[in-house]
Symmetry: C2
Subunit: 314 residues, 2 copies
């Protein structure tokens, strides 16, 4: 699956993921009104609003980017109806030729991780049937439970040609609480140690020059990104934290390999709520999807100017 | 919320949680047949089978135990329909007076953790409405992202009188991959360091002598349980790993405080699939729920004999 992602990154000349994290506060009022006029202030109406919002944005950006990353929490908060919106979003994005990275951050003991893996990047058996539940192309995985919580995901990668990104160094302010602690016997931090494990796991699911086993490392920590880039040469790095969380184009440089590959950068609010920012306000609330398109184009330019102008182009 | 749990533990004289982890392989064939006769080999039929199975078990054990712990992965694997089964299970258990611990192991950056927290132990705002999504009493939380990934859950605990159990030392064989590493500056392991944080967080949501912020520590690691019991005196420990995973009655002793409180022990397969074990085979497949009841009574006796016979009773 990583080779498919790389192919699409090359084709679109954009190592960019649009984060589909639809918080209600960012959904334009006319979309909310349509939904609540029909179904009232209910979970079902919230789900309908999310679907309309996402589809309008996807329609305006699918030709520009290789992938989207729906953050499942923003759907799960609306219960079963929210999960319906998640499923419809995944399916719609796949119809549009986008690669879908489910930002689910699951991880559990082995038998339970297998259930999550089958739900999101595999199939589940029921009698003689083999059924798809959420069916993303990639998903994110939390490593706190160790190898036996991650390996079922890797097995599903190999069975179904899918991929994962393991959390290594997250973008949030307190990610250092545990991730940055120095391990005595390893003489390296926890995030480096997790990175070393990811590099071992990467060998279990190679797909061309890169592995289906990637990592998450936040744009907000570029020096740590540089270290991780060295530790995990075969792993793609999914880089959140660009834009709204504070990461800039310059911060992205160390996450890429000299071949111009190796990283894909996510922006969520910076794109899907661009219409609220001063620079895109002229699109108006009704023009939110056009504002998102403009923000993607600006992000692409920012990455090209800062990362690729100094290297050869993707 | 922890005081409500303690009250129910005292009332039932059983610090026991029944893990509702319905894997299809353990659901009796007549239940599967009823579901597939009606809906075919579909996600909807799997969900229906899970609901029937759970309700039958709950009907036979709700008078014996204070709480249940549905493992959401076993529902999520069946997609939106599976999440419907999760919701119906949560609601049914609450109707029966059981406390529901959602084993969801969520954790993300702050704004996203808030969405998970509102989904599972809070309410989500939509327009002027305040809506319930999954609405458990407690949920489990993954600490890998640090304080800002955990605190939104604590805030929801305080707002809605709910509780959480933070993963500290998990029951699985490879939990030591990261959790057991020694941190140089702290001169203690990662799991101890997480335990120290849990103890700090516990102070933020006290409810009587104990805190709404508890911890998960596996029965499979009793020595580590003893250490954690000391580090986190105000936190209830949710103890998985008893039974099918290898933990025994004797292993449970160190997880309890001298007051006979402080721990609640989960068993999943050992109870809900008891009918497959030699000792309960005489109940037959149709008698699966009676077998579950017998297994609960035996677990209660095992805990009483090993933990409380040597101390004063709960």
């Amino acid at each position: 699956m990583i080779s498919k992602l790389i192919e699409k990154i090359r084709e679109k000349e954009a190592p960019i993921v649009v984060g589909l994290d639809p918080s209600i506060a960012n959904i334009p009022r006319h979309i909310i009104k349509n939904a609540t006029d029909e179904k009232g202030e209910t979970l079902a109406a919230a789900a309908d609003a999310i679907i309309s919002y996402n589809k309008a944005i996807v329609d305006k950006v699918y030709d520009l980017v290789p992938a989207v990353k729906p953050q499942i929490a923003m759907y799960e908060q609306f219960g079963v109806e929210g999960m319906r919106a998640f499923t419809e979003t995944v399916n719609y994005c796949k119809e549009k030729g986008l690669i879908v990275i489910g930002d689910i951050k699951r991880g559990d003991i082995g038998s339970t991780s297998l259930a999550y893996a089958q739900a999101h990047i595999g199939k589940v058996s029921f009698g003689s049937a083999s059924l798809s539940a959420f069916d993303e192309d990639f998903c994110t995985v939390n490593p706190y439970l160790g190898a036996d919580g991650v390996k079922p995901f890797i097995e599903e990668c190999n069975k179904n040609d899918r991929g994962i990104f393991v959390l290594v160094k997250t973008s949030n302010p307190s990610s250092g609480d545990f991730q940055d602690r120095v391990l005595r016997d390893e003489d390296s931090t926890l995030y480096e140690t997790v990175g070393i494990k990811v590099n071992e796991w990467a060998a279990l699911s190679m797909d061309g020059a890169y592995s289906n086993v990637g990592a998450v490392a936040g744009a907000t920590y570029p020096k740590m990104g540089e270290i991780l880039r060295r530790i995990m040469p075969r792993s793609y790095i999914l880089v959140p934290g660009y834009g709204a969380q504070g990461g800039t184009g310059k911060d992205l440089v160390p996450f890429f390999n000299p071949d111009g590959l190796g990283a894909i950068v996510n922006s969520s609010r910076g794109i899907i709520a661009a219409y609220k920012k001063d620079e895109y306000k002229h699109f108006g609330e009704e023009g939110f999807a056009d504002a998102a398109r403009a923000a993607v184009l600006d992000m692409k330019k920012d990455i090209n100017d800062n990362v690729f102008a100094k290297r050869r182009r993707v």
